[in-house]
Symmetry: D3
Subunit: 286 residues, 6 copies
């Protein structure tokens, strides 16, 4: 269960409110790189955790931290909206460049929330919980978390570079540091679990003898002329130490699929109830 | 630009059609762990690629491979639907256990596609392209790709274990092998780019001097009693070699936020146009 | 900021796991009547709160409580999935009625989470944060909260009646009681703000002299023959004491709208670039 | 069944078209506070109505009225788009402030509809019918309706304040009046059904003896230091007359949940197939 | 504006309620082939209609008809749910085949609506108004309408074939007939506007001299071996009489795109701030 | 299976980057009229194709072509973003009209992709695969394809008219030509299948004797006063040659639906567990 302290985890200060920056900040709240996503992701991973209890506990701690990050950013959005125009007339009276601020705002900040944040991204698209990855596999989840914190830190640095408000830069420099730690933290779990050789391929519980081993370490080339983009992934030992990389020209190993004709009572056109091969012959020649 | 061979990349065979397994397979087509997602993700990463051309090219190859995986799985769905019941009467006549197959089907396989696949997950939720991560940062993207292939291989092994159809097991053993390679492949890019020490924290282009360094390698403890889940992430050098892990009890560093009162013409209640502090005193004492 | 205790707010016990009830419980997690919704709704209302500070604080408390309800329900889902079948073969071996349990499960509980909860409803539709109502108007928000707790308690009682598992009934009897309180709590805010006469119409800050007063207390009858469904809303004083209810036969007061013809360079058909009145004459006669 | 009169319910007139206001108006069409939502909500409540027939009939009347409100607002959007620029060149030639109008438009008004409304909100997010609340419980539905009309009237007054177009203000003053009535109307149903004492808690058909009564009228305090936001909801009789409000410090009554370890064939990592307690001891001490 | 008659357009009778058929019927309410879609589509096309007034009027009539179809189907869902089980116990007591009906139900029919319809499809996915096509081009809209009525009639016949309930078959035979008419009706508009030669290509207002005419009537072959699927579309005059069909082997006419390197302050990795050509040489050779 | 050539199908050149036009172009990528939709639609139609093999093959060719169109447009978006401002300061320094470009941008082009395209529409709404129509009926699918290409060409001409960049106009003139062909191509399939008389009504496999023939060719008039919008669809032979058009005044043929009262254990209010007829009598009189 959870508790709250009405104080923020870190100070949130806006020196010069900027309603368009309020729109930008929404990406860090409700965007796919944002904080609602990691909050729910870490909590759901914790609540569904099977296996060693320490990971459930760690995830619970960091998930709880993230709730406070949503809180900080929501406060930052509200503070950036202080003094924003409520009408076209007001906008005009402030500034000869009519409508440039109002036009660039998320109008829901005026119309729907009365100058508060929404759980939406910078385009006003609501957060969709399908982005909460909790696979039941601890390594898959850690990689999902690293991905979330990597795109999250990229986003936070872009917001930092976008603004020249000292208060906002201060808040973001804190969130950027936390993202640094969180990237490390999830990778540290994988290291603790044995790193590449022990943890990969994910899931490591599936016997590799049951996969088609001849295709498990080959880079498939699909360029029409067979040219190969060479790199670490086309030669040398694989990272898990269980195979050797090679480049393989991809070729069709299967046939042209041919489904049964449609049933007369299945809603197709009558012409579909029989199958006609390709005119002029040999589709297998394709 | 793209070309197609009407033959499949690998044979798709169903020995005993199972319409409920057709529903399960949909997760591998339109689920967040599925193939439409990686197809679009790798292609969009390729098309937006900035920097060394070799990564654009590599991504294009693998994105193109994935289109063929969607094709294979869509074929597998259609083959699992051959002979499925179209009506309650038909269901009854086949099997004394009335309705158990029809009830368990994705009814859109009957009603909307006439026994074909949809770009949806196993619950019939349509694929949503917000799951296409293409951040413009090559390492963040690689981690997103590893996450996708890790959850993807987890899914494929679960499907493999769910069925006892030899044809389906054969197809899945191929897809599982490809997921093995793709996990390796994206990690190999990170290794080629210098691994943890060179690539982290993501983005490595942001000067770490501008982040709040004192919080960049600390695990924040949010348990109400300050108990600490110890692990690789609470002590020792950080993985990027740039800091030292420590556990830190999280405390509120900011104040209670207080927004301006609502404007009279802003749609709030009149009572909100003035701010009243907490009754009985000291919210700051919280 | 937030803290967590790894213990649950209230005991969660499942005597006989039922994977289909796990599916049903998802509605209380990620459904529109569920707990993720109220958790985010109360927190966002708190974070965007303008006016008296006490409401911010109250909302924060209850929003924090709700995080723990999501936790309880996620635990209940996982416990109901203990021992669920992972394959068709396993299902068959347990029970002569082949597939009846597996068919009725949310297959993502097997395929995507490894027997854990998802932030989705009972049909597997992910929670969408557009359901977080935080209007910036305290009374509108309170009514939204009452609506959420009313549909939430209806849902909880339906789940209570659906199961005969004593553990689940015990957990639900707690959640039902909390919903009782929460319904009361939000209505108590409205009472504190003066009830119907002071708070209505929402927003009470808009001067009623600027609305078309003659239509503000009339029930509009749209039945084709003008029959009137009589009730408290067709006669007597209005609840806010500011008007008198009456039934009014609705009639078109406006004209037939006629838009300008399409521009030749606007992507319409050429025929749309001129406006032709209705043939045979007088559309205004309609 | 339904009939239409091509004339509008109330005149819609735009004196000075404003394409950015057209974007704002979309919130009243396809936003969660908008008219498509109430139209479908009242109609679905009517069509699924069980119990006294008079409520079915009343809901049908008002649902039918709302169709006409969508029509009025769609007309208002189209009229605000008359003369809007179709190209960057055109925009430039009109106004030295290049792009300020075009930039602020919903580009779908140009690209997708040829200057007409869409069933989307002011950010172009399509209406999603999950917002149609029809719970089968008449009081829950009435509160959902009051919430919809309260946020709806808040929205309408914000639009009214945003514009200085006399035609638009006239139309909105009509819609605002209708929202006044609709707030009253749904509350009048609850009054007719006995008000707080008879109708609450919703559903009133569930025997309160089966809820955990000791938690049914207590305000749970989740602040980390136990401070209590006092109000009408912390003391005195409950609004339904069935209990007494009190403040209760929330404490964990449950245990730390411990799920079974993952199955070896369930797609987890091997390390998850055994459960390890917290290192260093006593997680129950948390 | 709109009016309602509480009687249905056509009788709705269910002889033997079938809760799983209730689930299937939802596809005709909230599915992409369903009636909410056409209702909103025709109404929005009408409300945004520019050009001859007769089309606005016709669309308004048929859009109004469709509201009544949603009403009929919602009634059919509710009637199919009469007597459905509310609990696992009840299910068991009725039928030795435990859970087969309950498992196959849309659980929201129990949990969320109390045995009523939802604006969702057969998988419980809510209707999303992005499916409302109203392009501002009368011929594009008519084709969208034909597509809607074609998939709609296919769906209705599949539902007809799925059930053996005489009442449901009667209702569906009416809806199927209406779909027949509506297919005809929209095609009749295109005929009235001159058919293929006058109306195509859509939009006919764009001067064809500005399109790359050499590619306007060629079927592009993308098979890897250049095999050509011959048909009416590979030779002979085009249907609009303005060109001649031919098959053309598709070849890349453009170059390999090369974007500028990433900016140092743009959130990419440092390695992306320079562009390296393909190793080993000539990407143009690809 | 699929292959790629890294060169583009047609040259993509941007003479003067315009970040707001980049936003507009997104509609052609991820909008409902855009290329991801047709790409997936034609591929899924191909993969689920039953009946004559030639249509599977044709659809595969054109679906493959469309992947390359997404690629071209994604390249065009990235090129239009070259040099776009990353910050408010940068924006200011370039142009006295502060913020007009940045405000009008899709901020995700800065924040989420680092100047690359997303699979979203011009409002940033992600592509949703429910727009992939693949009904299993070849004629219904062809009409869906014609609708897609008609709205697609309308969109492309609007983009063409919006820009004055010669490079962009050249690219669009190619895409417009391809849309011309694709409109023709799908209609040619219908002609090959016998045109209106053989193909309609869709599906032609359903015996028309089972539809209510008396309503199959009547235009239903729903105007409140019975006025009739006359046209090709109100008299003369139907297009399929199987009926005669006529106008019919729509009247309610069904009764007022009356559902069973709510069950006491079903979550309704107690008052709903009995049904009360309309007060004052005769609802059938309505």
């Amino acid at each position: 269960m959870f508790f709250a302290n009405p104080r923020l985890q870190y100070p949130v200060r806006v020196d010069t409110p900027n309603p368009v920056f309020a729109r930008a900040l929404q990406q860090a709240i409700g965007g796919v790189e944002g904080e609602i996503r990691v909050m729910l992701q870490y909590l759901f991973q914790s609540w569904g955790s099977r296996g060693p209890m320490k990971y459930r506990d760690m995830l619970l701690n960091t998930g709880t931290e993230e709730i406070g990050h949503v809180e900080m950013l929501s406060t930052a959005v509200a503070l950036n909206l202080e003094g924003a125009p409520l009408s076209f007339q007001e906008e005009m009276s402030k500034d000869p460049i009519a409508g440039a601020v109002l036009n660039g705002m998320n109008l829901r900040h005026i119309l729907s929330t009365g100058m508060g944040a929404t759980p939406e991204n910078c385009n006003g698209v609501p957060f969709n919980a399908s982005h909460v990855y909790a696979s039941g596999n601890i390594v898959a989840d850690m990689y999902a978390n690293v991905a979330a914190e990597s795109t999250g830190r990229v986003l936070a640095t872009r917001l930092y570079n976008m603004t020249d408000d000292a208060g906002m830069k201060d808040m973001l420099s804190f969130l950027i540091a936390r993202d640094t730690m969180h990237q490390q933290q999830w990778l540290a779990v994988i290291e603790e679990l044995g790193g590449h050789t022990a943890a990969l391929p994910v899931p490591n519980s599936f016997p590799q003898s049951e996969e088609k081993g001849e295709f498990a370490y080959g880079f498939f080339v699909h360029s029409a002329d067979g040219s190969v983009p060479e790199g670490r992934w086309t030669s040398g030992p694989s990272l898990d130490g269980k195979g050797t990389f090679e480049a393989m020209i991809s070729k069709p190993l299967g046939e042209i699929p041919q489904l049964a004709p449609a049933r007369p009572d299945g809603g197709a056109q009558t012409e579909q109830t029989t199958t006609t091969p390709m005119p002029g012959g040999a589709p297998t020649a394709l």
